[in-house]
């Protein structure tokens, strides 16, 4: 009798399990996180954005603080230095081939960070709010090949808009060593409006 009862519980449990799996599969957890495609030119961020060059992100992505669109450097910008510097390196020669003295084609970089078409992400609002690039894009200055650092899921966005962005966390992300253990007071966390129409329209 008793084991019969257990036995009859099985189909029910199975059903629940199936349902749970289906839902979690649909729950938006899927993401292209950690996607790291090979670029037409193996551009080494560490060489430029760290080390002794230590260039500012905005030098190349020069509209990130004034446009929704962060901007990619024009090939001419690269060639500004590389006409001379390291001109013998194979990757640079690739670059030069693309440029072809202004008569060529732009480098077809492969896109990594992409939000869907129905999402508006104004870079300048975030950059000017003091959100460091690394808070979302991760330690790009250490990535020999750039990969998608964050999930870019809606939950991930909303979390920051609602609970606020901690400037100190942002700084840490850039590599600043911060040993103090005190937590940022709630007031200093930067929050942003979170109704749907802020991003979806």
């Amino acid at each position: 009798m008793t084991q019969r009862r257990k036995w009859t519980a099985i189909p029910g449990l199975l059903l629940l399990a199936v349902g749970a799996v289906a839902l979690s599969a649909y729950s938006g957890a899927s993401s292209s996180q950690n996607n790291s495609p090979v670029q037409p030119i193996a551009f080494p961020h560490p060489l430029h954005a760290a080390g002794n060059l230590n260039m500012n992100c905005l030098y190349c992505h020069n509209t990130a603080n004034k446009s929704p669109d962060p901007g990619l450097p024009a090939v001419s910008t690269c060639m500004g230095c590389h006409l001379i510097v390291r001109a013998d390196k194979p990757e640079i020669q690739k670059l030069a081939k693309y440029y072809a003295m202004g008569a060529g084609t732009p480098v077809p970089w492969v896109r990594i960070h992409k939000v869907p078409d129905y999402v508006r992400f104004p870079h300048m609002r975030h950059v000017n709010a003091g959100v460091t690039c690394q808070s979302c894009h991760g330690p790009v200055q250490q990535m020999t090949q750039v990969y998608q650092y964050s999930s870019l899921n809606m939950g991930w966005c909303v979390n920051c808009h609602v609970n606020g962005y901690d400037p100190r966390e942002g700084l840490k992300a850039t590599g600043v060593v911060d040993t103090s253990t005190t937590v940022t007071p709630d007031a200093e966390r930067k929050r942003a409006r979170y109704d749907c129409a802020s991003c979806h329209y």
Binding site: D69, L72, A197, Y201
Partner: protein, 1031 residues
């Protein structure tokens, strides 16, 4: 889909680059430099080029070439593509407004049926050619022509500015006679009369100064003359309330202009002259009445009114047989009434209408061609084989020409007859200039790279040809037309650069001296056969037919009949009853010149003895007789996929005879017979009556300032929300989002409102976006509708192939006969009076733009199971497309029925229903999501513009300033009827309107707390007429 117009050849041109990479950040990589080498050192209107930022719009001032008036436009470009046109606020004609046709210029620019390359016809077959071949062929033919010394004909679409004189000098250098400057929309008789009476082709009509406006069939709101300018001025006049001028319209048919009149005096076509004579004191009222079919009382009353109301403004249209006499008589009336110089100002004449060749000149050219001694003919712009009255006659004459060259962008009827096609650039791609009013220069500068590398500026082609000829070459030293033009621009580089920036400068353009007009034929009127008067008129939306290839204009309901994607025959319900005709019965209309078949459309605003047909539809092609199937990528003859075989061409009914004013006669006599066929006329009109529901409300001028009658029942029910909208609208949104509970008066207000809390730290509820629509200003012109389509990526759904489902037939407007149009903003036209359909002059039309009312207490919100529609704290009723699952419950629960559903994948490129075939999709606004199938959409109050303004403000570390930006509809409105703003901030203009005594909410009794406030229309009807009207 059509293959990329760019082909696959490499180059720094950023558009191919886009094609490779798709949209997004990468697209901006070479945008700046590409932009500069493409468009040169153009100084944009708002941002200077060194600050040109990818992802941020750049603005170019230019000139609109959609009609002869040449308004000023500002082209918004994003990453090198024009995405939107708006009026130039500093332009003397349109002051920032822009009509529907002007808006649609971008669809001419991105028209998928534009020629990609030059084409040569050999043995009746078209072959794509290179420019070298084409130009070589052309110069060869010209040389040949010179040797034969036969006559050449150059038909050019009329435009002001320098090009006409450039063209003439080129022609003379080639030993050819000056060109014919064609404008089929021009009212030649009126122009002639203006020249004789006021010394200018088109004086400024100062409606604002007049105390009385009388129009003798002059449809100044339907595209007669510089209609945007007229409309701005007319709306200002009408908005004066008690001081506003009364408007009397005299004619056989109530056009859009006629529907805006306070009084309609109906007279048979052509009999306006009798009335004018009477008003001039010749003949008795009775005589005039019998001659015209109007009532003697109304005529005497009119005479009295003209005598007393000074200054007045009398305007006359002259498309009739005796058009010139009418116009001259009216001019005389104006003079005697002392209006000249007061309401009719020659000083600020619209110069765009100078230098239009008379219809007579065109006819003469046609006769020369028929004579057979014309060796070569050029056509740049006009489409006489379609647009000319009795177009068949033109065709046969044109066929006699040995070698025919077309500079047309589109595969129209005339071009199909030609032997060589040299596709011109669109006016948004090339250089030009205009002189809108005396002393002001309007600069037409390219806003972007040519969409198709295969097209080339006609001016440059002509210069290239000239350079092959030693004699002519000396005349044109400049490398290209641009430098030729810039050389003529007065002033130094500094003044020029500001001129580039503003698109406007000071100076004059020396106009070509017109050749002596060829003897205008005597007005051989169509033999008066048939028992009905026939009136044909240029469509307010499609013009003389050149708008027909633009889906926005096809999908824009005719402002009067609300019919779209179709032709129709207007006749009065009485006449219809007499002929046992119902709406949709196909009628056969026959004149001495020809016959057409079109569905009947009973219309209150036409005399029972008259039928009317609009021009503009019925483009056709002998080689491709049927509709486009949505896939065919070959050249779409018959003026492109959107116009071919849609409706009928009423020009076939006209004899082509010209009146003494030199314009072709658009009226005549016809016989009407009913056929067995019956079709469904596509229309957006449900019921033309309000059934007393107070949607479009009006008040008589005498009621202004009088306290409104006490409404019964309001606020009587205990606990009922107050019907006072002002507190609701002024207070932060949460208050009215939750009805009385959230009202400032209520307890715990603000404490439990979450993000709706006006004191929320993030300030989400700080603003309350709202809109007012002044029905006293609104003329129903529908420019706002097209502006909305352009701004919000709204798909057009009426093309014959867009109901691409298994069972359905291909028919233009099929989806719309199923009520599936997507017009977020629609213009409703309700009739008041004449309920029994019997003929009367005393009925009123009310126009009301209806868009999402952004209810503070929206019925659509609580019923959406997934929160896809919800109330934003700043007062917007938001539709989140990507959350929508498509239950359509929101639409069911919307009292205003302003929600639109994507029944098909109109936004999905791989579908037959795709509304933006390449390159039309280049116009899509990158700030607005293109909706996929299965989701609901609606007016967003241009939330993208709100966000853009907020972003800009944040960037500049400031608050959004009052009236800093507005919605697309408000920006375009040529009546300035729509005002958008923040109802929670006293400093915005909208505040004044919300407080108006005329303000009301539609369906206020439903407690929806709408954010759109309408201002009642003001009627200036005489008491007699007012009696016939419901309020």
């Amino acid at each position: 889909m059509i293959d990329s117009p760019e082909g696959a050849k490499p180059g720094v041109r950023r558009r191919e680059f886009l094609k490779v990479l798709g949209v997004g950040a990468a697209a901006s990589a070479s945008a700046c430099d590409a932009f500069q080498d493409n468009a040169g050192k153009l100084i944009p209107y708002l941002v200077s080029p060194d600050q040109t930022v990818p992802g941020v719009s750049t603005y170019f001032a230019s000139v609109c070439r959609e009609c002869s008036a040449a308004c000023g436009i500002i082209a918004e470009t994003r990453d090198g593509r024009v995405i939107k046109l708006e009026g130039n606020p500093e332009h003397p004609l349109n002051h920032g407004a822009l009509c529907a046709r002007g808006q649609s210029a971008v669809q001419g620019l991105y028209n998928p049926d534009r020629f990609r390359t030059p084409m040569i016809k050999t043995a009746g077959a078209w072959k794509a050619a290179t420019w070298d071949e084409a130009i070589a062929l052309l110069s060869a033919k010209i040389v040949e022509q010179k040797s034969k010394a036969g006559a050449a004909v150059f038909l050019n679409q009329h435009e002001g500015g320098s090009f006409p004189s450039f063209l003439d000098s080129w022609l003379s250098s080639m030993g050819m006679r000056p060109h014919v400057s064609v404008d089929f929309e021009a009212d030649h008789a009126a122009i002639e009369a203006n020249k004789r009476s006021y010394g200018v082709a088109w004086p400024e009509l100062a409606f604002g100064q007049a105390k009385l406006i009388v129009s003798f069939g002059a449809d100044f709101l339907d595209g007669w003359g510089s209609s945007v300018q007229h409309q701005l001025d007319f709306a200002d006049a009408r908005a004066k309330g008690a001081a506003a001028p009364r408007f009397v319209y005299i004619g056989a048919r109530r056009s859009l202009t006629g529907l805006n009149a306070d009084q309609w005096i109906s007279c048979t076509p052509g009999s306006e002259l009798a009335i004018v004579n009477f008003l001039q004191g010749r003949g008795t009222a009775q005589a005039a009445a019998t001659a015209s079919g109007a009532t003697a009382e109304s005529l005497t009353a009119l005479a009295r009114e003209i005598a007393t109301a000074k200054p007045s403004l009398l305007v006359a249209g002259g498309r009739g047989e005796n058009g010139l006499d009418v116009a001259l008589g009216v001019a005389a009336l104006n003079r005697s009434a002392g209006n000249v110089g007061v309401t009719i100002r020659s000083a600020d004449a619209v110069l765009g209408f100078e230098g239009i060749s008379k219809q007579g000149d065109l006819s003469a050219a046609v006769e020369r061609m028929r004579g057979g001694n014309v060796g070569i003919a050029f056509v740049r712009g006009p489409n006489p084989a379609y647009s000319m009255a009795s177009s068949a006659k033109f065709a046969e004459a044109f066929a006699k020409v040995a070698f025919k060259v077309s500079f047309s962008l589109y595969p129209d009827e005339t071009t199909e007859m030609c032997d060589l096609i040299l596709p011109d650039l669109h006016s948004l791609e090339q250089w030009g200039d205009s002189e809108p009013v005396k002393g002001t220069l309007g600069l037409q500068q390219p806003a972007m790279d040519p969409v198709y590398k295969g097209s080339r500026s006609a001016a440059d082609v002509l210069m290239a040809v000239a350079k092959k000829d030693a004699a002519a070459a000396s005349r044109f030293p400049q490398p290209d037309y641009r430098s030729w033009l810039i050389a003529r621009v007065p002033g130094n580089t500094a003044t020029r650069s500001t001129m580039f920036a503003k698109g406007l400068g000071s100076g004059n353009i020396t106009r070509r001296e017109m050749p002596a007009p060829s003897a205008t034929q005597s007005a051989t009127a169509a033999a008066a056969t048939g028992d009905y008067f026939l009136v044909t008129y240029p469509s307010p939306t499609l013009g003389d037919g050149r708008g027909a290839n633009k889906p926005w204009l096809q999908e824009l309901p005719d402002p009067v009949t609300k019919v779209l994607w179709s032709s129709w025959v207007e006749l009065h319900p009485e006449t219809a009853a007499k002929l046992h005709v119902e709406r949709g019965d196909v009628l056969e209309v026959t004149t001495s010149a020809g016959t057409v078949r079109a569905p009947a459309l009973p219309y209150l605003g036409i005399r029972p003895d008259t039928v009317a047909i609009a021009l503009g539809q019925g483009h056709s092609s002998p080689s491709q007789p049927t509709y486009h199937d949505g896939k065919d990528t070959s050249v779409q003859w018959g003026y492109g996929r959107y116009s071919r075989s849609v409706g009928i061409n009423a020009n076939a009914l006209l004899s082509g005879a010209t009146n003494s004013g030199g314009g072709s006669i658009a009226t005549g006599k016809c016989s009407v017979t009913k056929t067995a066929e019956k079709v469904q006329v596509p229309t957006t009109e449900g019921s033309a009556r309000q059934h007393g529901r107070g949607i479009a409300q009006a008040m008589h001028v005498s009621e202004i300032g009088r306290p409104p009658a006490e409404e019964v029942g309001h606020g009587k029910i205990p606990g009922a929300a107050s019907h006072e909208f002002l507190p609701g609208l002024r207070s932060p949104v949460a208050a009215d989002a939750q009805g009385e509970l959230g009202a400032p008066s209520a307890k715990n207000q603000g404490t439990q409102l979450g993000m709706y809390d006006p004191n929320h730290p993030l300030g989400m509820a700080k603003r309350r976006w709202a809109m007012t629509v002044d029905l006293a200003r609104c003329t129903g012109c529908s420019a706002c509708v097209t502006a909305c389509y352009a701004e919000n990526n709204i798909p057009t759904v009426g093309a014959p192939w867009q109901n691409g489902v298994v069972y359905a037939e291909k028919r233009p407007g099929f989806n719309i006969t199923r009520g599936r149009e997507m017009n977020w903003l629609r213009l409703e036209r309700y009739y008041e009076g004449a309920d029994d359909g019997a003929f009367t002059e005393n009925f009123e039309a009310r126009f009301i733009p209806m868009m999402c009312q952004h209810c503070g207490n929206a019925p659509c919100e609580p019923v959406c199971p997934v929160f896809a529609t919800y109330h934003a704290p700043d007062g917007l009723n938001v539709q989140v497309y990507n959350r929508c699952v498509g239950t359509r419950y929101c639409s069911n629960n919307c009292p205003y029925k302003v929600r639109y559903f994507n029944w098909f994948g109109y936004g999905e490129p791989d579908r037959i229903q795709y509304a933006f075939p390449e390159p039309l999709n280049w116009q899509l606004n990158p700030d607005v999501t293109v909706r996929g199938k299965g989701v609901m959409e609606k007016c967003t109050m241009c939330v993208q513009r709100i966000r853009e303004a907020e972003n800009r403000a944040a960037l500049e570390k400031r608050e959004v300033a009052a009236d800093e930006f507005t919605t697309a509809c408000a920006a375009a409105c040529p009546s300035r009827a729509i005002v958008f703003g923040d109802a929670a901030d006293e400093s915005w203009t909208i505040q004044a309107h919300i407080g108006s005594e005329r303000a009301y909410h539609v369906f206020e009794e439903l407690n929806t707390y709408t954010a759109v406030v309408y201002l009642k229309k003001i009627n200036h009807t005489t008491k007699a007429a007012a009696a016939g009207e419901a309020r």
